[in-house]
Symmetry: C2
Subunit: 621 residues, 2 copies
């Protein structure tokens, strides 16, 4: 609708933008923390305990939690995505990682909680120092994996204390206005998008179980349940997941544990063709009935409770990777075609946004929230947007340097002239999930900004143009994204890339491009390529495209099958931020050919004004 | 002595070369294997066992074993440096890695042993499939670490079998002409070379024990014993190690367990100033006397026996890294100065060798053994050679493609015209250990050889010129050595670099430049930089220099301390094998400046003929 974005109507248009998927509230409830901690202390004392561990986790170790599972935020006021509290009778601590220590310090009451760095002073060390002999520390075995419980147990043992598994969570007894658990409708994910039937997937999973010598697989990661049964849900914000479990035997019909209220009749009937559909509560009973069976449990997501249920029922829990995680990461033809289509659509929305930003930002009136709302609106205009894939990170100036910044009404700031603006966002379309970051100059960047931006770009191009033999891991590619920064004594403190789902989670395992990415990259995997640079208190830079692992034609004499990346994301990279002198001939060529491709594909999909902007934005360098 | 290498005397000179440190025998005794396996089967049956595990290992997990510890070779005929046999009543298997499966197939009797690939069909899998319920499998807990024993135990448990710790090794009872254990003289390693007194080292070790909350450290790696007490020995070929243990308490005098026959009076008195010198046998008694003490054990070298002795005595074994391993890897000023001096000396010997080779090889008469003998002779002429640091790898043509090739009288071949010749060798001098590989063309190389050599060189230069922030691991640098090969669909199947000792082991932990090198590189560490390429059945290429981790001057605006490498090895890289067109400007500059440095330092140390050769060999490209 080009008229709406016409020059004279810019301000009106701007006012019409709104975000429906993203919120800008700060949900921290620090003021209530003292009373809640006191109540929890009374409750655990009543139960004969001396303390309790409160992780930010639900029963399936989801990255994003439903509101009903935000126990840690309820107790402490801390709303970051990673943290654990330990509450003892006379002291308490909150542990979180480097991304969140500043936020935690601001959100929690320092008189109650000591804020600790998860890595530098980990909980087990704190427990060893603060527990005394005979102390009984409670934990909810539904909210910890067995690995995590085992670490707690060892820390308790070192202090002569005892770790006690709770049968129900004391916080649930105290939390009065606790939101209801989510009850999002489950829908079937059509074969057109999924590319493989659930029956065929189940056959492949059974073959994997045979290789693993397991009799049964409990699927505790809801992403893997969604992929296997070709279903999508609406229980988690921005991720089309249903909170569901499954149990897949090596032979026979699998069980799908999902709340019947989430299923309409047609969906239920379709699912009953391939699975026994059971109530979530039935899992507890079933897990206790695997006598003498070897039951594979996903080490990363299975609750400690499951290990105990299986053991108590005479079964043999075998913890390890869920084989579905790798199967799901390798996209099939339909998923790849879907992702390409989604990226064209998303690229057009991004072009509209970036063109709009280029027009409006110099006026000096835009705020971060304005930009977030505009971007979501442009994506909604595609008519295909199901949700954004995560809360947009829109950081101007110093906010750009906060890697996991989410703008709230309180933090919102005006994007000032000559500042950098970093916007990391994504969309959920039925045919694919996107995730893209662009950093743009709102005015004239400094020489330092251009130097840093160009070093990040050199890293981005090194990944985009990498050629590597089969079985190369993401860890082996990660350094290529950093060497240009290293030379200047700089680096970035996050991985270069993560896996991305197909109309599923925007963060998906098992492969990643990072120091920890030991899994081999396989053809069909989709990952992000997102090196960055962050100058604390000044600005942040990140350039992120999604890439698909594809076969590279083999040169004469090659001894190993080769892979490379196809860049899926289609959006201009800000030319004003590039110091062309710093690019090699090959790097410059890559940029020009990428921009030519963006222009050719996106120009026909956008209005005339955006098209004119696009032409300039993708001009040869 | 230039006259000896005068033109007219070349042949005579050539005949005078001899190797005193290297042997060319093939020690495999396959013919005896059948009788020995039968005797072992009878012996273990007599002891009520159904089978036995025979690893290639001594009590300290040394890389090179004294002849008295070569039980696996005695039993199977296999002489590779890594392997384990399992002998059951009716079947037996030998497990070895990819480097040795061909050699093992040739050396062992296939009617007795199935040769298995250690990674593809590991022993635990084989045990699970071949043991039956109730089987009793014996192992010598002195020859396995506790990790290794634990893996065996689990494999046995999975098959319903039992792993039984033996109190003495049945092979020792059967091995009639077993060589005596080594009794090399122990000498003090002067402070001029060591750079730090044993007392100062012990104070630093005690501080580490405090951090680790350990009461005691058992030093089971003889390299670490040698470093701590500033002693060197002669128990292991090519490595100046004494087979000795130590026990270092957090407070009080350490104990040094070493055969008194290895000590002269002066050495004994010097050692008694800092330690209680005890007979090796006393360790068994002492280890059982650490009641209630936390005893740190080196996970990589401590025998399972030690874990049991400590536990049975009421102590708490704490397995992990021996902190000395990292301390030893970071060389001090004296060690660095020593290494630089050793590399000048060694570079002169290498120049003599390479110049000699350039003169002699075209005549088409040289064999691999001739070259090995000549190289050792040139090193001996320095007057400072204590030993070679490992058996020289001298592979011509197809032998060059065997990564761990050691020439024997049987495998020796003539270096033919237009072949490549790969020579990987090193020296032990009192001031430093060297390790260097050069690949030279004996005539005119093919275009493919030059392409491959240049790709390897590009990888070598990428490491030599790398700039990286503190805390960067070797794993993060390893891929830089490979990308030029990857682009051609090629790679090499070994790490890019290993740590090197200071007049100690040529392979030293904990840092390495490889996929598995997770330890951060620190200033003062010495590592090898040795990418390669191997074309099976045709030729091998490797270019290896030792490098020292040094501080890199920080550019303006740098946020992290930076490190880089100083190349220590000084020897020309064969210009005839370099395709200059494939080098970037920066790579060409590095090569020219390296060659200029080699020429400037080495020319004054060599005879006129070698100097003339050196001038041509280091000419600008």
């Amino acid at each position: 609708m080009p008229a709406l974005r016409g020059a004279g109507l810019a301000l009106e248009c701007f006012r019409m933008f709104e975000a429906r998927f993203q919120t800008f509230d700060d949900s921290s409830e620090r003021s209530q923390s003292a009373a809640r901690v006191a109540a929890l202390r009374a409750e655990i004392k009543r139960r004969g305990l001396d303390g309790m561990v409160v992780p930010r986790a639900d029963r399936q170790q989801n990255e994003y939690l439903p509101a009903s599972e935000e126990r840690l935020a309820w107790l402490t006021g801390f709303t970051g995505s990673a943290g654990t509290a330990v509450v003892l009778a006379d002291r308490a601590a909150l542990f979180t990682d480097g991304r969140y220590t500043v936020q935690a310090g601001a959100q929690v009451d320092g008189a109650i909680f000591a804020v600790m760095h998860l890595v530098e002073s980990p909980p087990d060390q704190w427990l060893e120092q603060n527990l005394t002999g005979g102390t009984r520390l409670g934990y909810d075995p539904w909210l910890h994996t067995s690995d995590s419980a085992e670490r707690l147990r060892q820390a308790c043992a070192a202090a002569g204390a005892e770790l006690v598994a709770l049968t129900d969570n004391p916080i649930d007894a105290l939390w009065r206005d606790r939101p209801a658990p989510p009850a999002g409708r489950v829908v079937l994910h059509g074969i057109k998008f999924a590319g493989e039937s659930a029956a065929d997937k189940l056959a492949r999973i059974r073959a994997e179980l045979k290789k693993l010598r397991a009799d049964m697989l409990i699927v505790s990661d809801p992403q893997n349940v969604a992929w296997t049964f070709n279903i999508r849900g609406a229980d988690i914000a921005h991720t089309p997941l249903a909170l569901a479990f499954a149990a897949i035997p090596r032979e026979g019909k699998p069980a799908l544990y999902v709340d019947g209220g989430k299923l309409d009749n047609a969906t239920r009937h379709a699912l009953e063709d391939i699975a026994d559909v059971r109530a979530p509560g039935a899992l507890t009973r079933d897990a206790a009935g695997f006598r003498d069976k070897t039951v594979r449990l996903d080490q990363a997501s299975a609750a400690d409770t499951l290990t105990h249920l299986i053991k108590d029922g005479g079964g043999k829990p075998a913890r390890g990777a869920d084989p579905i995680t790798l199967m799901k990461a390798v996209k099939n033809r339909a998923e790849i075609a879907g992702s390409r289509a989604a990226h064209k659509r998303d690229g057009a929305a991004l072009a509209h946004f970036l063109a709009w930003f280029a027009r409006e930002a110099p006026k000096g009136k835009l705020t971060e929230i304005d930009a977030v709302e505009a971007l979501e609106s442009f994506r909604r205009e595609t008519g295909k947007l199901k949700d954004i894939s995560f809360p947009t990170i829109a950081g101007s100036g110093p906010n750009g340097a906060i890697v996991h910044y989410r703008v709230t009404r309180a933090s919102n700031r005006r994007i000032r002239k000559n500042e950098l603006f970093l916007v990391d966002s994504g969309a959920q379309y039925e045919d694919g999930t996107t995730d893209v970051t662009r950093t743009v100059a709102a005015g004239k960047p400094t020489a330092e900004m251009r130097d840093r931006f160009t070093r990040v770009l050199k890293g981005h191009i090194a990944i985009a143009t990498a050629v590597f033999p089969e079985n190369t891991s993401g860890a082996q590619l990660d350094p290529l994204a950093r060497t240009a920064l290293w030379r200047a004594g700089l680096d970035f403190d996050h991985g270069t890339g993560h896996g991305v789902g197909s109309y599923l989670s925007v963060h998906e395992g098992p492969a990643r491009i990072s120091k920890l990415g030991t899994v081999a990259l396989r053809r069909g995997m989709i990952l992000s390529n997102e090196p960055g640079y962050y100058k604390t208190g000044a600005y942040g830079i990140r350039t992120e495209n999604l890439v698909l692992v594809i076969a590279e034609p083999e040169p004469v004499g090659a001894e190993k099958p080769l892979n490379a990346f196809e860049t899926l994301t289609l959006a201009p990279i800000d030319r004003a931020l590039i110091d062309v002198k710093m690019l090699t001939e090959k790097e410059r060529k890559w940029l020009n050919s990428y921009h030519a491709r963006v222009a050719a594909i996106i120009a026909p999909l956008v209005d005339a004004k955006t098209r004119a902007w696009l032409k300039a934005a993708t001009k040869k360098l």
